[in-house]
Symmetry: C2
Subunit: 339 residues, 2 copies
C-alpha cells in the first residue's frame, strides 16, 4: 500500500506537508511517496534525521499548479507538475491513495481527466465528514459541483452510502436530503424532485429531508445536496465555530476572574476544541473517480496530513475503490447501461 502525498500543494507546503508525512509514518502501515521538487523535499526530510527512511521515497516533479490557473489548461500544460505525476500513481489502484492540499479545481479536473469517472456515476463529488454529535456524518457534495441536478444528487447518495459502509462499517447507511424544511412538499425545484427520486430508489435507505440546522444531529449517515449548498453549510460551520471560539477567548481575556476560571477549565476547553476538529476524520475524498483521492484543506498543518494518512490506510485496507465500484454497479444498472 502506498500513500502518495502532493508535497507542494497548500498554503503551508512543503514544510507542514513533509512534517505530516514523517509524523504519519507511525500511525499508518502504508509506504509514503512524496511528489514534488526533489531538492526541496529532501531538504525538508533532512530536518527529521530519525525518520524511517525505508518507508519514504521521493518522486521528482518540477512544476506546481496554483489556485489562479485554469485547471484544465494547467493540467495539459504542466505535465511535470506534482499533481499530474501523483494522479498517474493512483489511477485505478486499490492499493494507492493520493493526499493533496492543493487547488480543489485542479484535483477535481485532474481526477476526472487523468483517472476517469466510475461507470454509472455522472459527477464525482467531494465528501466531507462532519463531526456530528453522535459520530461521523458524510456531507456531499461539499463544493465540487455548484450546479447539480436530480440525477447527480442520487449519484451522491450512492457514493456516500458505499463510502460510509466501507470506511465506517455502517451496514445500511441512512440517506438524508438537505432541505429548507422537513416536510416532503417543501423545498426548491431541485430538492422537491430529488426527494421523490431518492424515495423511489429501492437501493437507498432514504429517511427524508434534513434541515441544515440539524446537519450535526445524526438524522442520517449521509447528507446529500448540491455543491453550492454543501459548501455554504460546511464553510458557515467552520466560520461560526472560529467566531465563537474567538469570542470566548476575548471574553476570557477581558477579566482576571474569567482568566482564572479558564485555567480551571483548560482541559474542558481543549476537549471542546478537539470535538470540533474537522480534520479528525481525515480529508474530503473525491468520490466517483477511478482512484483514491483525498483533498485536505489548503491551510492544512501537519496534523491534518496525519489524519488523512490514517484515513488513506483505512480506505486501502477496506478496498474502498473496488467496493464503491461494486456498489455503484449493483445500484445503478440503468445508468451503467446508458453509458
Amino acid at each position: 500500500m502506498k500513500i502518495i502525498i502532493d508535497a507542494m500543494g497548500g498554503d503551508n507546503a512543503p514544510h507542514e506537508i513533509v512534517k505530516g508525512a514523517v509524523d504519519g509514518l507511525k500511525s499508518c502501515k502504508a509506504e509514503v511517496v512524496l511528489v514534488g521538487r526533489q531538492d526541496v523535499i529532501e531538504q525538508e526530510l533532512a530536518k527529521y534525521p530519525d525518520h524511517d527512511k525505508s518507508r519514504i521515497t521521493v518522486v521528482n516533479a518540477t512544476e506546481v499548479i496554483d489556485n489562479n490557473e485554469s485547471p484544465v489548461f494547467a493540467l495539459r500544460r504542466k505535465k511535470d507538475s506534482s499533481i499530474v505525476k501523483a494522479l498517474a500513481l493512483v489511477k485505478g489502484n486499490d492499493d494507492a491513495a493520493l493526499i493533496s492540499a492543493g487547488s480543489t479545481g485542479a484535483l477535481f479536473a485532474g481526477g476526472l481527466l487523468l483517472c476517469g469517472r466510475l461507470k454509472g456515476i455522472d459527477r464525482p463529488a467531494l465528501a466531507t465528514t462532519l463531526p456530528a454529535k453522535k459520530g461521523p456524518t458524510l456531507l456531499l457534495d461539499s463544493g465540487a459541483n455548484v450546479d447539480s441536478d436530480v440525477e447527480h444528487l442520487v449519484g451522491f447518495a450512492v457514493l456516500g452510502k458505499a463510502y460510509m459502509k466501507t470506511v465506517f462499517g455502517i451496514e445500511d447507511p441512512t440517506i438524508g436530503l438537505i432541505n429548507n424544511g422537513a416536510e416532503e412538499k417543501k423545498g426548491n425545484n431541485l430538492t422537491k424532485a430529488a426527494h421523490q427520486a431518492l424515495k423511489n430508489d429501492p437501493n437507498l435507505n432514504f429517511v427524508g429531508n434534513v434541515e441544515p440546522r440539524y446537519s450535526y444531529d445524526n438524522q442520517a449517515d449521509v447528507l446529500v445536496c448540491d455543491g453550492f449548498a454543501g459548501n455554504a453549510i460546511l464553510k458557515t460551520s467552520e466560520g461560526i465555530g472560529m467566531y465563537i471560539m474567538g469570542s470566548l477567548k476575548d471574553e476570557i481575556k477581558s477579566s482576571k476572574l474569567a482568566m482564572l476560571g479558564a485555567l480551571f477549565m483548560k482541559k474542558a476547553l481543549k476537549s471542546l476544541k478537539n470535538r470540533f476538529n474537522y480534520d479528525y476524520y481525515g480529508g474530503a475524498p473525491l468520490l466517483g473517480v477511478d482512484a483514491n483521492i483525498i483533498k485536505i484543506h489548503g491551510s492544512s498543518k501537519s496534523s491534518a496530513v496525519v489524519y488523512a494518512m490514517i484515513q488513506a490506510d483505512k480506505m486501502m485496507e477496506g478496498k474502498v475503490l473496488s467496493a464503491i465500484k461494486q456498489n455503484v454497479n449493483e445500484m445503478a444498472p440503468q445508468a451503467e447501461a446508458d453509458q
Copy 2:
C-alpha cells in the same frame, strides 16, 4: 404609531407573545394592538395587572392559520384569522408594523396577496440581521424564495440597501454576493450572472463575492443570496451555535474543576451567549411588500417580542416603508416602467 401583534402565532402563543407585548411597552413609544381570540388574550393580560392599559387594545379574531395549511387557501378561507385581520391594519401604513411568530408561508403569502408588492420589486424577501463581529449584517433572502433568479438577487440588494440605510443609518451600504469563492469567475450559474448584474448597477455599492465562511466578518453590510442558500447559512449558524454551547456545557459538567472554573467565568459566558443572540437586532422584516411586517422565530419567547417591538418602533420612526419605496423608485426605474 401602532405595533400590531399576532397574539396567536408561534409555538409559545399566546402566553409568551402577550407577556412580550406587555414587557415591550416600556421600551417603545408605539401603542400596541393584540390580534387574536379576545377571551384568551384578556385572560393573559389579566396576569399583568400593572401594565399600561391605555396603550394596549385587543382586536378579536377567532381563527388561526397553522403551519400545515396551504397558505393561499387558508388566507382566503379564514377571513377571521389573526393574520388576515392584522395584515389589514398594516397595509400601506408607515405608522403601523406587524409582528408575527406564526407560519412564514402564510405571512409571506398574506403580505403579497393582502398588502401587495412594491412597484419595481419582483419578489419580497425575508431579511435577517446577523450578529456579525463588528456590527449588524443583513442577509437576504433568508428563506422566502428558495428558487431565485438574477433579477431577484438584484432586487434583494436594492431592498437591503434601503433597509440598512434607514434602520441602521449607514450612508451607502456595501453589497456582497454570497458565493463559494471570492473570485469573480467562481460560482454557480446564478451567482456568476448575478455578480455581473450587481457590478454593473451604478446605484449599488457592490464589493464582490463573500464566502459563507466570512458571513460574520463584515465584508459587506448587505449579503444577498437565493433563499435556499440563505436559509442554509442562517440555520447552520444557529444549529452549530447551539451545538457548541451545548458541548461547552457538557464539558463543564464532566469535571468538578471545570465547574468551578465556569463559576468564575459566569459573566464571560453570559456575555458570549448574548453576543450570539439573533433576537437582539429584532426579527426578520419581509421587505418588498407594501407594509411593515416583521417575522419572528416560531419558538420566540417574550424577549424576542420585545426586541422586535424596538425594531418596529425604529422602522416606523424612520418611515422605512416610504424610504424603501422611494429608494426602489429611484433605483429601479426600468423595473417600474415594466409593470
